[in-house]
């Protein structure tokens, strides 16, 4: 009897989804360490003002990283995200210029983003050996085509100026207010999206299918889960979320600029990895990515507070990713797969 009991406890210790819990613990520890460092090194780091700016920037990154997380969960990477963000960021104001009502323009841009994502997903699924270059190519083609459109009648289509509607400005700008509270509504939207996503990944057939396809394609296929559908739809979600991020960023910056999405190539992938979702698929989740987003944003804020130039920030974040990934990647599962 005792041996059976020990066997059971042993398996409980060794077998439970240790990896995810471990990465969440590490994530929280990192976050706490960064906050402590910031408090010591940067005057006014822990202040409502700084918290608000961190949350706002985190919200943009968080929304953009949702699609990247889903893609990583099936072992894909969506490299078109920065281009869809940039494209949406100039397409939206140029639609406003044509006199299209803002609400309709939002819908058009987000649907277009979804369509681009679906196309990207479908093509990269069919050409899986070339999935990475495929998503880059689709992103390039989209952002190029949008610039062709916005440059009609002008010399350069990379920047577009249009009167940004007040509600959008309030929605995503630093001094935006939600029901009188000094917090831009986009942060609450992100919170809502987070809750819905986490719930849906666990409680819907679609959510479970994503984990199944990521865990074992063949086993999923035997259960009648269509890998094509799952793969294509999550790329579609990723495209829609990128386009939405691009629209919201217009409210933040006030003017359309095609390069606004550029940092998101690195940061969306980094947020996913820091959160602990394996890029090989099958495990992880959006909650983990939210943690990764916060770590990354607090880190950037700390570096800004220390007065570092953008170039220096880039160099440091780039270097820090190495030890961070090393800590996570050293789990047995990934070692076995490589």
């Amino acid at each position: 009897m005792t041996s059976l009991a020990t066997e059971q406890t042993m398996s409980q210790i060794t077998g439970r989804s240790v990896k995810l819990q471990r990465s969440i613990v590490i994530g929280f520890a990192l976050l706490a360490a960064l906050l402590v460092l910031g408090t010591i090194l940067v005057p006014g780091f822990i202040s409502p003002r700084n918290a608000r700016s961190i949350l706002l920037l985190a919200a943009f990154l968080g929304l953009a990283s949702l699609g990247q997380t889903l893609c990583a969960m099936v072992g894909a990477l969506d490299l078109s995200i920065p281009y869809v963000i940039g494209g949406a960021n100039i397409l939206f104001p140029s639609l406003l210029v044509t006199g299209m009502p803002a609400w309709l323009a939002v819908i058009v841009v987000v649907l277009l983003g979804a369509a681009i994502g679906l196309a990207n997903g479908f093509l990269s699924f069919r050409l899986q050996g070339q999935a990475l270059i495929m998503s880059l190519g689709v992103g390039f083609a989209f952002v190029g085509a949008v610039q062709l459109y916005t440059s009609i009648g002008s010399d350069y289509g990379g920047t577009v100026f249009a009167p940004v509607p007040d509600w959008l400005r309030n929605f995503a700008a630093f001094n935006g207010k939600t029901f009188g509270l000094p917090l831009p509504p986009v942060v609450l939207v992100w919170l809502l999206v987070t809750l819905v996503t986490i719930w849906a990944l666990y409680n819907t057939w679609f959510g479970r299918s994503i984990y199944a396809v990521g865990g074992s394609r063949t086993a999923a296929a035997r259960l009648g889960i269509s890998e094509t559908k799952v793969w294509t739809s999550i790329h579609g979600i990723s495209g829609a979320m990128s386009a939405l991020t691009g629209v919201l960023l217009l409210g933040f910056s006030g003017g359309g600029f095609v390069g606004v999405g550029d940092p998101y190539l690195f940061t969306t992938v980094a947020a996913v990895v820091i959160g602990g979702t394996s890029l090989l698929g099958g495990a992880g989740g959006y909650g983990a990515t939210v943690l990764g987003v916060l770590v990354l944003t607090v880190l950037t804020s700390l570096l800004v507070g220390l007065g570092l130039s953008f170039a220096a920030q880039q160099a440091i974040v780039g270097l820090l990713i190495v030890p961070m990934v090393a800590v996570y990647a050293r789990t047995a599962h990934i070692r076995n797969q490589i």
């Binding site: 059971q8 042993m10 999923a220 296929a221 099958g282």
Partner: protein
């Protein structure tokens, strides 16, 4: 005599995770003998072969090859040990000659001129294959059987002092087996210790000088030449309790003719070369599917489950009112109409390794518990999980533990639970007992029998003839892409099934058995 000992293993133990493959095994093989290691699947015989050849290390006990202890396959080669594994490991892009001598000499000590070694290789390979082989051609263009001979010849050319054959003759036909045995005789007379790992009893009765029998990870005995008989081997290989129950169920087996058809396949053509044929699964029966490798039986069971439909075949299943048969078109359709598929290839097409035990079972039944927007109703799932774990006697710690924390047998039970949880009408199993322990097999047979008694129907593919004995109501034997013979009643025995697997007819069976005994 002690200086003649080629291999000695004492009190060897080995575990894989929670599975104890070897508990306490002793083994001694002498130079110049053919020594068989016999046991059922899961008895630990392959593990023993792997430890001997240095592929894996034992957890406890001592292993000496020609007086030395070895820790890697390279060590093993150094002391003069060669292993022929089940898998056919050849480099398709290289010539036959290169494949024969790969790794056999190092660059600085070419002992023989290339012409000399070529002629040695040529005569050996011709002798083994039974016809001349061009050593210059690419291995990739050759059929599987010749590839297998290349692997065997590669080992023989090294002039090993110890040669291990791990189920090597599984895919060889009868003539080929004879030639292999001649080669083994030759090696024995040269003083080589030949160790054969097999569960094919008839084969080793003919050629083994001694046999060590494993059961559930223990050495249960060593037989000398005069004692090696089928009866003795079977008695020692099989645990007591199953000997009785197997006998009992054999007498109870048999199919009344008036059963309803649970499923039928019309014009099945699993392989391009298949003659289209029909298949009927009577309700409440267990139909075994057998065949040598690549005779279409594997494609056939996948066809029934609608996973593939390569060259045609219409599957029909009894409708819900049990009044008539309805067509089953796709995999989804098959699932909805009550056909489930369980694979023995757990790693590849069964488990989700990063998910919990609970999730691995529940993923199969979510679709039946969906509300609006695909939202899963979780209330009933826990009950179903508990019911299946209880029914199949799955040994689990916590349901949230990873599936990979379980032994192979218990993982398979979870997958079978996934199948049962769908309340299927027909279960299609593709070699489910591959690599699982005896207890799991027994639980599996019992549950499938209960399922059949409750009106369910079972298609059971196995690569081991022994599995059908006392279990299947009918065995359909595949040869060249279609059902060659349908056996039932007393015809379900090792000799008849084996003869049918080699494409022999009814009248031929006796002759076939004589041939085998004669060799």
């Amino acid at each position: 005599m002690t200086n003649d000992v080629a291999v000695s293993m004492t009190a060897v133990a080995k575990s894989f995770g929670e599975t104890k493959a070897l508990k306490k095994c002793d083994f001694v093989a002498r130079a110049g003998e053919v020594h068989a290691i016999v046991g059922e699947n899961g008895s630990g015989k392959s593990t023993m072969a792997k430890i001997m050849s240095g592929v894996i290390a034992a957890d406890a006990g001592s292993v000496l090859i020609l007086g030395k202890s070895i820790t890697s396959p390279v060590d093993a080669k150094g002391v003069g040990l060669a292993t022929i594994f089940q898998e056919v490991l050849v480099a398709d892009e290289a010539s036959v000659l290169d494949n024969l001598f790969v790794g056999s000499e190092d660059l600085f000590s070419l002992r023989k001129s290339s012409r000399e070694r070529e002629s040695v290789a040529q005569s050996l390979l011709d002798r083994l294959v039974g016809k001349p082989v061009d050593l210059r051609q690419n291995v990739g263009d050759l059929p599987l059987s010749i590839k297998q001979w290349i692997v065997i010849a590669r080992a023989v050319l090294r002039k090993p002092k110890v040669l291990i054959l791990d189920e090597s003759s599984a895919a060889l036909d009868l003539d080929a087996t004879v030639r292999l045995h001649e080669e083994i005789d030759r090696l024995r007379s040269e003083g080589c210790a030949v160790i054969i790992v097999t569960h094919r009893i008839a084969e080793l009765v003919r050629i083994a000088d001694r046999a060590t029998i494993l059961r559930d990870g223990f050495t249960v005995g060593v037989l000398e030449k005069s004692e090696i008989t089928e009866a003795n081997l079977l008695r020692m290989m099989t645990p007591q309790d199953r000997q009785i129950s197997a006998a009992a169920s054999t007498s109870a087996a048999g199919l009344p003719g008036d059963r309803k058809e649970a499923l039928s396949v019309h014009g099945a053509r699993p392989q391009e070369a298949s003659q289209p044929f029909d298949f009927v699964l009577p309700q409440g029966s267990i139909v075994g599917v057998a065949g040598l490798d690549g005779q279409g039986q594997d494609a056939f069971v996948r066809l029934v489950a609608r996973i593939i439909s390569p060259f045609g075949g219409e599957v029909r299943i009894l409708n819900t009112e049990s009044t008539g048969l309805v067509k089953v078109s796709t995999l989804d359709d098959a699932t909805n109409k009550g056909i489930v598929y369980v694979s023995g290839d757990r790693k590849r097409e069964g488990i989700f390794p990063q998910q919990s035990i609970f999730e691995n079972l529940a993923i199969g039944i979510y679709q039946k518990n969906l509300g609006p927007f695909g939202v899963i109703r979780r209330k009933k799932l826990k009950q179903t999980f508990a019911r299946e774990v209880e029914r199949l006697r799955v040994k689990i710690g916590h349901p949230d533990n990873r599936i990979t924390s379980l032994s192979g047998g218990n993982q398979q039970k979870v997958l079978i639970g996934r199948a049962f949880a769908n309340d299927p009408k027909v279960i299609v199993l593709n070699d489910p007992a591959r690599g699982v322990d005896l207890n799991t097999k027994r639980d599996l047979y019992r549950e499938l029998r209960l399922f059949a008694e409750g009106g369910g129907s079972v298609i059971y593919l196995s690569s081991e003839i022994e599995e059908f004995l006392g279990f299947a109501d009918r065995v359909d034997v595949f040869h060249k892409g279609s059902i060659h013979r349908s056996l039932d009643g007393p015809d379900i025995n090792e000799e008849t099934i084996l003869a049918a697997m080699f494409g022999r007819s009814v009248a031929d069976t006796m002759e076939f058995s004589k041939e085998r005994k004669a060799h």
